[in-house]
């Protein structure tokens, strides 16, 4: 009977390694998925902007400069490649959209336009989704790091080389300095 105990312990140990390894793999994939979800939401915002521009350009003939800034900020955001470039260009797009909606406030016929209201709601929702996607990404990265670092999981994480630290999403300095564009439809 006693001779079975070491074998049992070895089996339990292997089982524990399998569980921890699978947990780490699962979290690593969730982190990758969460990062891609941010891109999905950014793409959604890029797709909404042409509709917005088409809807407002007829009524805003004296505000072509504002519209052009939105179009060019969108173009830069779409073509941005690195994480830093992306963050900067997306921030510029947020500012340009904020200015556009501030200008829309001066056009009563646009303010009460059903299409504009819908687009504004869609953009507000997209802004929130981008924020939430980033928040979820950071939360899942934190869980992944905790799983890797706690004792005794850190042994398993070090045995298998595929688990490395992921970067947190953090606002750039410029992002912090600029107030967030208000695209909301909140009632006062």
């Amino acid at each position: 009977m006693i001779e079975w105990i070491p074998l049992g312990l070895v089996v339990l140990g292997l089982l524990w390694i399998v569980i921890v390894y699978n947990g780490l793999v699962s979290l690593r994939n969730q982190v990758q998925n969460a990062w891609k979800q941010i891109d999905v939401q950014l793409k959604r915002r890029h797709d909404l902007i042409p509709n917005l521009v088409t809807t407002v350009k007829g009524a805003m003939e004296f505000e072509q400069d504002t519209l052009e800034k939105v179009i060019s900020a969108r173009a830069k955001a779409v073509s941005a490649t690195g994480p830093h470039d992306k963050a900067v260009s997306e921030n510029m797009l947020t500012q340009a959209l904020g200015k556009l909606f501030a200008v829309v406030e001066n056009y009563p016929q646009l303010k009460s336009n059903e299409n504009i209201m819908q687009l504004q709601e869609e953009l507000t929702s997209t802004e929130n989704r981008i924020g939430f996607a980033r928040q979820f990404y950071n939360d899942i990265v934190a869980s992944y790091h905790i799983k890797q670092e706690v004792f005794p999981n850190n042994f398993v994480a070090s045995i298998f080389k595929g688990f490395k630290k992921e970067e947190y999403y953090s606002a750039e300095d410029a992002d912090r300095a600029v107030p967030q564009a208000d695209l909301s439809l909140r009632k006062k």
């Binding site: 969730q30 998925n33 969460a34 979800q37 939401q41 059903e114 209201m117 819908q118 709601e121 869609e122 507000t124 929702s125 929130n128 989704r129 939430f132 996607a133 928040q135 979820f136 899942i140 967030q180 208000d182 909301s184 439809l185 909140r186 009632k187 006062k188």
Partner: protein, 539 residues
Amino acid sequence: MPFTFIEIEEAKTRRIWIFFLVLILLHFAVLASLTAAAAEILSLPYDTFFSPRLMGWLIVLSLASASFHFGFATLDTIHFLHDNLAAVKPDPADGIHQRLLNIMQEIQVVTGNRKRIDCVVIPTLAMNALAAVDLRGNATIAITEGLLSRLTRPQLEAVMAHEAYHILSGDCRETTVAASFFGLPSAALGKISGGFAPGFRFSPSFLLAWTLLKLSQIFNMFISREREYRADAGAVRMTRNPIALAEALNLISRNWRGVGSIGEGFEMLCIVSPAAKALDETDGWRADLMSTHPPIRKRIEVLSKMAHQELSERIAKTAPTGRPDAARPAEPVFYALDPHHQWQGPYPLAELSALAWISPLTWISDGGAGIERAWKIPSIDPVIFMNRLKQDAMPVTSSLCPSCRQPLLETLYERTPLRQCHFCGGILIETAKISRIMARAENSFTDRISSLSKTVMKENQLKQSGHRAQNINRTMITLRSCPQCKNPMTRTFYSLAYLVEIDRCNFCGLTWFDPDELEMLQCMITNKMAGDPLVERTT
């Protein structure tokens, strides 16, 4: 209670699991008591009944019956919402419903799309929301039209996050499991306590079983209250906006929250108790033992503390990094929560007074402990708000608004004199004068008012109003004090036909209408009398 949402969530999860285990043990204790009672009645020796084999069978049978009950209870949960509460899918062509669909998507994003959650709208003016999961794993959040129309975007987001948390944390299933475990023993004891047949031998073990069953109900309610605190913390983790949830709860607590014939199992999963019992909002051991939901006041208190944590982070960011000038006396500064739920500041008093959006209900902090409504802070209240009232040409009365605690102004509506709050728009009027206003229809109604009123009309068509009115009459709640005599006002419906909630003072014959309520009532009555569709009178 801990300070941050993460600590609260963890602490509550631990407590819920411990109490849930106790609940399961109580189930077996009830079962053993009933077995002992059966042995006493049949005059059989205990060892026959308590043999390991028989007890094993009893446990298997009990688990099978609980599983059977659970299966039936959860099989058609979603259909129950559609059939009994007339819940419908949101209409994407309706702007407000589209906003709900968008918010649902946002909640999916913040939870990492862990589970697909649908949403439905219950066509009632009441303000409540609940979550349900069926046996097939379909999850739905049901929200009332009244809540949907009256909450701001961040508030609605917070409520949806609260309900989504109930689904994702397994609260919906746990509630049904608990109900399933005690379903059969409750029915058996209910039958017995209903009356003894001639020749029935009473056994003391029945009394023990009954006591244990009552104890299990108390435990179940305790777990339910802990779940609410945890779901509040979970909602804050998702939205990072405790004040939005606190304000939503405050708004719901001041309005009718019944959602029709809903059943006990669902009651626990509503954001606030739909029964609107006075007991729910009181302190003391009885309320602590018998309520399915914690008092809203306590929930708001916990959320305010979380908001202060958030505010502290902002203060740390805005604090000057250089050495403070010790010679210069520090001018008091304030932080204020703007209408978009963002903390702004620090502002000296002069700058704070100049903010266009500040009102007596704005949340303010001086950077120290806690946050308070602006009207509660003595250094702000008389300075800012009295100055604003003086700018109005209308005469100021001695009556104070029950929400904002500011003097009401004398004004005319439909050529009838009444008292109105400059800040929140609430109206105080002699009850006898209401019929005058109802008979006049000089002002047209906005789309929003018509839409809200239409929902009530639908409500009447569903013929559920009578039942709800009876419920509320049995459990009248006094939430406000009369602006004139300071006696508690009674919250009730205007009438059984027109389910608009009002606060009445039975001592001096005054009625208080929250913002929109008077117009809604007028819109409903006018259109019903005229027999025209509501939309025809809209502007």
